[in-house]
C-alpha cells in the first residue's frame, strides 16, 4: 500500500491519493510513515522535473496534493516525531526591487526535496536582510533570484554588502532567473549562475561535496 501511495502521488492522481490517505489512517497506520511516504513521492516528482518529464504545472499540482495530504494527516500526528536529517542549509531570496517568486519557489521546492534545509526570504529582500540571514543561519550557500534587468545592480549590491560584513569568504553565491546569465554573474561577483532549478541543486550538491 505504501508503494502504491508513493506512486499515486508521484503520478499526481488526486482522487486516489486522497482516498488512500484516508484509508491508511482508518487502518491505523502510523501517520509519520504516511508523511514519510509523501516525501518519497515528492522526491520522485522532483526527479521527473529534473529529467524533463515534469514541468511547472506538475510541480505546482504536486505541491497542492502534498498540502491536501498533510491537512488530512496532521490532526493524527501526535508529538513532534523524529525530524528528517537534512544535508545542509541554503538561504534563497529575490533581490531588492524585484517581486517575482515563481522561479524562487521552484528552487526552494527542488532544494527541499533533495534534502536541504531552505530558508526562503521571499521577494524584494533588502540587502541588510540577506546579511542578517547569513549571520543567523550560518548557511554556506546563498541563492539570489531576480527576473528583471534592474536585479543586476541589486545582486551586485547584495554581494558587496556580504563582503563588507566579512561574510563573503565563508559562502558560495549562486544567481538565477529571467534575464540572468554568466555576464551578470561576473558583474555581480557571484560564484555561479544556474539556468534552472536543477542547476541550483547541482551547484549546491557540488559545494556540499555531495554527488
Amino acid at each position: 500500500m505504501a508503494q502504491d501511495f508513493i506512486n499515486l502521488l508521484a503520478d499526481l492522481k488526486e482522487e486516489e491519493v486522497i482516498a488512500l490517505t484516508k484509508k491508511r489512517l482508518a487502518d491505523k497506520e502510523d501517520p509519520l510513515k504516511i508523511m514519510e511516504d509523501a516525501r518519497k513521492g515528492m522526491e520522485i516528482v522532483g526527479k521527473r522535473f529534473a529529467g524533463g518529464e515534469y514541468f511547472l504545472p506538475e510541480l505546482v499540482f504536486s505541491g497542492e496534493l502534498l498540502t491536501q495530504v498533510t491537512n488530512i494527516v496532521k490532526p493524527h500526528l501526535t508529538g513532534s516525531g523524529a525530524k528528517v536529517k537534512k544535508l545542509g542549509k541554503v538561504v534563497i531570496g529575490t533581490v531588492a526591487g524585484d517581486i517575482h517568486d515563481i522561479g524562487l519557489n521552484i528552487v526552494e521546492f527542488m532544494l527541499d526535496v533533495n534534502g536541504y534545509e531552505v530558508t526562503n526570504l521571499g521577494v524584494d529582500v533588502p540587502v541588510e536582510k540577506f546579511v542578517q540571514a547569513m549571520k543567523d543561519t550560518k548557511a554556506p550557500v546563498l541563492g539570489l533570484s531576480g527576473f528583471l534587468t534592474p536585479a543586476f545592480d541589486a545582486m551586485k549590491e547584495t554581494v558587496e554588502a556580504l563582503e563588507k560584513a566579512g561574510l563573503r569568504k565563508n559562502m558560495k553565491i549562486m544567481i538565477g532567473g529571467g534575464q540572468m546569465d554568466d555576464e551578470v554573474r561576473k558583474y555581480a561577483k557571484a560564484d555561479a549562475f544556474g539556468k534552472d532549478a536543477m542547476a541550483a541543486v547541482t551547484l549546491t550538491n557540488g559545494w556540499y561535496g555531495k554527488k
Partner: protein, 442 residues
Amino acid sequence: MEKPWAELSWQEKREQRFKRWLSPPGVKFASPKAEKVYKERVTRFYKAFTGQVPDRVPCMLPTGFYAAAYAGTNLGTVMYDYEDMKRAWRKVLHDFEADAYVPPTLVPPGRSLDAIDYKLYKWPGHGLSKTTLSYQAVEGEWMKPNEYDDLIRDPSDFWLRTYLPRVFGAFKAFSSLSSWTAFEEIPSTAFMSFGNPEVQAGFNAIMKAGTESLKWFGAVVEVINESLYMGFPGVMSGLAKAPFDTLGDTLRGTQGVMMDMFQRPQKVHEAMERIMPIAIKGAIDAVATAAAPIIIMPLHKGADSFMSLKQYETFYWPTFKKVVMAQVNEGIIPILFAEGSYNKRLDIIGDFPKGSVVWYFDQTDIYEAKKKIGDKLCIMGNVPSSLIMTGTPKQVKERCKQLIEVCGKGGGYVLAAGANVDEGNPENLRAMMAAAVEYGAY
C-alpha cells in the same frame, strides 16, 4: 472600382495598411529629407517583417524606459510629471540615431492608477522603492476557481462586477451593482444599485482617472508627433495577448491556471475560447486609427520553462494561433514576442503562412530558429540585455555583427535586444545601431 475590404486577400489588406503607414494621414514632415528617411525606414521594417530583403537590417533599440535613467530622472517621477517625461523622451529622440522611435506610451499615468487604487501592479513609489526602474505585476488569484462559469457566460459582466472590484480598489462596491443587461423594457429597480454612494465614488474615481489620462496622453502625443515630423516611425501600435496568458497572468494567476490544467481542464479550454474573440477585436481596433499595422504579442506562460511541449500544444497554442491568424487575415502583422526561451517549440511555431508573422526571441537559440523557420518567417532579437547593460560597446557590436551575419542572411531579420534595457552605457545602444548600419546592408 476598388474591391470592398471584406473581399481583399490578407496580402492586399496588408498592402493597404502599409500604404497608410508609409503616408500617415495628417503628418507634416519637418523637411523633405525627414519624409524621405521616414519612408525608407518604414519600408525597411515592412520588408524585413514580411520576410523580404530590405536595403539593410533594421534595428529596434531596446529603450523601453531607458529614457528616464538616461535623462537623469526615473520612472517613478515621469509617471507623475509629464513635463519631465517629455523632456526625457525628447532627449533620447534627439540624441540617438535610430530606425524607429519608442514613445513613452508604456509609461502609465501614475495619478490615474492612484485614482482607481490599482492593485494588479506595483510601481516605483507605490509598493516598490522610488528608484526601481520598472513596474511589476502582482501574482494573485484575481479570479477564483469556482468562477469559470461566470466568466464564460458573460466576460464583460464578469469584468465589471467581479474582476474589477478586486483590482480597482475604488470599484470595491461594484460587486453590488446590478448587471447592465438588467436594463430591459422600462427600468425601475435596475437603477437602484447606482444610487449607492460607494458605487458613485467608484464612478467618480474612474472619471478622474480618465481626465488625468487625457492630460498624460497630450504629452505622449506631443512626443510621438515630434518623432514623426523628424522622420522616425513608430513600430508597434498595440498589444494583444494569448488567451492562456490572459487567464494565467490576469485572472487565475500562474499557480491557479496550472492547478486548473489538472483539476478543470475543460473549463480552461472553454474560458480561452471565450476570451479569444475579445483579444482579436482588441487588436483590430488598436490598429484601426494607428499608422503602423503592427501588434505586439508578449508571450508569457507558454515558454519552455513553464510547460511541456505537449501542454503547450494542448493548452497554449490552439487559441493563440487563432488570435494570430485573425490578425493576419485582417492585414495586420503580429510580432510574437517569445519571452524566456522557445527552444522546444521551434518545430511547431513556423506553422503560419509565409511572411505573415514575426517571431521575436528573447533567449531562444536564434541561430537554430533561423534554420528552422527563418526561410519562411521574419525573426527578430536577441542581443542579450545583460550584455547591453554590463558589457562594453565593442562586445555589443561584435555580438550584433554575428547576429546580422547569421540571421540576416536572405532578409527577414530585425536586430533587437532580448528584453528592454532600463539603464546603462548609452554607447552600448549606439554600438547596436552602428552594427546595423555597418554590417547590415544587403
